[in-house]
């Protein structure tokens, strides 16, 4: 697999000190709000695009959870990541309603267009494809989310179009 990087590969990057400070400030309100760990993790993910080891340390320090607890929570929920992710995570539904309406072809078209398998990021970290459980958008089957933006009634042609237009915005 030379043309892609898997999300399993550990990457060491120096995290910007400013982002760590942003995180520290961002989670201050949650000190007074018991049980708001998930919200704190959302803040961390907004700062870094994923939840790095350092963010877990900061959250555990500020909110008073053991690091192991925070790590346990991060890895439980599929929308939190412990490795760097792509700018656009294309979450394509693979459940029954979307499946019988052509989701497999949409997934195949997206994989072909980007040259990666589901679960992988492109080398430039612009795109990642995820096959996910039902997104609750079944009235516009098959559905996909670009991060959290909904795109319904997908076809192979439309998913290719979407990828092209998202690429255009980036450059």
């Amino acid at each position: 697999m030379t043309n892609s990087v898997t999300d399993k590969k550990a990457t060491t990057v120096d995290l910007p000190a400013a982002a760590i400070e942003d995180l520290r400030t961002g989670i201050q309100p949650f000190k007074e709000d018991p049980g708001s760990l998930l919200e704190a993790l959302y803040v961390a993910q907004d700062c870094f695009g994923y939840v790095p080891r350092e963010a877990i340390e900061v959250i555990s320090e500020e909110l008073g959870y053991p690091e192991a607890h925070v790590y346990g929570v991060v890895t439980f929920y599929t929308m939190f990541y412990t490795e760097p992710q792509a700018t656009h995570i294309l979450r394509i539904c693979r459940d029954l309603s979307c499946h019988v309406n052509g989701a497999p072809k949409v997934i195949a078209a997206a994989e072909k267009k980007l040259g990666i398998h589901s679960g992988q990021c492109t080398e430039d970290r612009e795109f990642k494809i995820e096959q996910v459980s039902c997104l609750g958008q079944c009235e516009q089957q098959p559905a996909l989310l670009d991060n959290l933006a909904v795109h319904g009634s997908m076809t192979p042609a439309r998913v290719v179009e979407l990828i092209e237009s998202l690429r255009g915005e980036g450059s």
Partner: protein, 438 residues
């Protein structure tokens, strides 16, 4: 049977999500009346008399639940709205969250008053970006207008509602797992008993209801218990249910119909039937957890009594399958879903769900044997001992399909099936790295 708009009454309005729009047509009048003029006992009495039952799929009597919470001397008590709608084929809560957030918030205020609670939580799945925005905005509007906070409607009743997001876990729709998630923990379920009515969020008495259940409350108080009871079709069915259609059907969408409507009416009259040239093969009345029903059973009533056909009413997310769909593959899709969403906490579910997937993969690849069909059954039986509802239901769509369409499973095994997999490479996900790029 005509569509009756109770829960969905505001969805079509222009800018329906704004407080201004909601109040224009008498919104929050019921909450105000309840808080100012009714006793909590009277509220519970009305809701009990209306025979409102939990719309999340369990159909537990709502009035009785509130009575249990109120009867527990422990304080503080909590009110939780379950908006972690993740059942495949279900999207009725999403419309309410996005287009009528005030409708169910009013129900929550009434519930909080009835059980004497001063803190509420709304839990919404993380994928519902717009719903989260709209609810956050609605809560802000309510606090500003004195509908939430200290001294609601000028009385001394106080209520704060906190919005919490999930982060992609189906299991968090299970009530006790949701409590753990609200408390900032992994979303594993808890042992019951004690039940949430005695030990819910922060181990305090908690009433947890579905968004749709809360949305029924204000109309019940406005029009009376008898009115609501009469909306249902049949003795035991009170009120309406929002059905979501998806799959091989011409018109997908939400249809609010009397509880007890037949599947035939829903699929043919409201869904417009199947696409041209196709015929009905099977349908699932309540999301992935529900067992599949055959075309011959299309006249069943969609209400809790559907259990006699070996399926469940569930969330009302009806998935239609036409004659080109493969039942084995649909069972495989459901098995995959539960494998992905199993939280891994108890062994029958953690081991059982991937076992079902592996066996179905073999069968779909033409490598299955007749013994595998018996093995599916025995794995299913052992999964019945799972810790929570997820595992206890996860095997049922597979075994239900096997019971009703055994011929098709056998024909796959004999490798003489007329259906071919639409995309074989997607099946090979366990060998992803070895398989060539598409």
């Amino acid at each position: 049977m005509p569509e009756v708009l109770v829960v969905n009454r505001n969805l079509q309005k222009d800018q329906s999500w704004l407080l201004e729009t909601y109040r224009r047509d008498g919104g929050y009048a019921q909450a105000e009346r309840v808080v100012k003029k009714m006793s909590p006992e009277e509220v519970i009495e009305v809701v009990t008399a209306a025979d409102l039952k939990g719309r999340g799929g369990a159909f537990f009597p709502t009035g009785f639940k509130w009575k249990l919470v109120r009867g527990d001397p422990n304080t503080p008590r909590y009110v939780v709205a379950n908006g972690d709608e993740s059942e495949p084929g279900t999207y009725c809560n999403r419309f309410l969250l996005e287009k009528d957030p005030h409708g169910f918030i009013e129900g929550m205020i009434i519930a909080a008053y009835a059980v004497d609670s001063h803190t509420g939580y709304i839990y919404i799945r993380g994928e519902y970006g717009q719903a989260i925005e709209r609810v956050r905005e609605a809560l802000r509007e309510c606090h500003e207008a004195g509908i939430l906070g200290d001294g609601i409607f000028g009385t001394d009743f106080q209520l704060d509602i906190i919005l919490r997001r999930g982060a992609g876990a189906y299991i968090c729709g299970e009530e006790t797992a949701l409590f753990n998630s609200l408390e900032g923990k992994r979303g594993n379920p808890r042992f019951k008993p004690p039940f949430p009515t005695n030990s819910g969020v922060w181990s305090k008495p908690t009433t947890i209801n579905n968004i749709e259940t809360f949305a029924c409350v204000a109309p019940i108080l406005e029009h009376g218990a008898e009115w609501f009871k009469d909306l249902g079709d049949g003795e035991d069915n009170a009120g309406t249910k929002v059905f979501c259609l998806s799959g091989n059907v011409r018109r997908t969408g939400l249809f609010e119909l009397p509880l007890g409507v037949t599947a035939r009416e829903l699929i043919y009259e409201y869904g417009g039937g199947l696409p041209a040239g196709r015929t009905l093969k099977a349908f699932k009345p309540g999301g992935a957890s529900a067992g599949v029903l055959t075309a011959a059973e299309v006249d069943v009533k969609l209400d809790p009594s559907i259990m006699q056909y070996g399926t469940i009413m569930g969330t009302g997310g009806c998935i239609v399958l036409d004659d080109t769909a493969s039942i084995v593959e649909s069972a495989y899709r459901d098995a995959l879903f539960f494998e992905e969403e199993s939280c891994g906490f108890c062994i029958p579910c953690r081991q059982g769900t991937p076992n079902l997937v592996q066996i179905l993969e073999c069968i779909l690849h033409g490598e299955g044997s007749m013994d595998d069909l018996d093995l599916l059954e025995s794995i299913g039986e052992s999964m019945a001992s799972s810790f929570c509802g997820l595992g206890q239901f996860a095997y049922r769509p597979v075994l239900g399909a096997l019971n009703k369409f055994r011929d098709e499973f056998e024909s796959y095994v004999r490798a003489s099936c007329q259906f071919r997999l639409s995309q074989p490479h997607i099946l090979n996900r366990r060998f992803l790295k070895a398989s060539p790029l598409p």
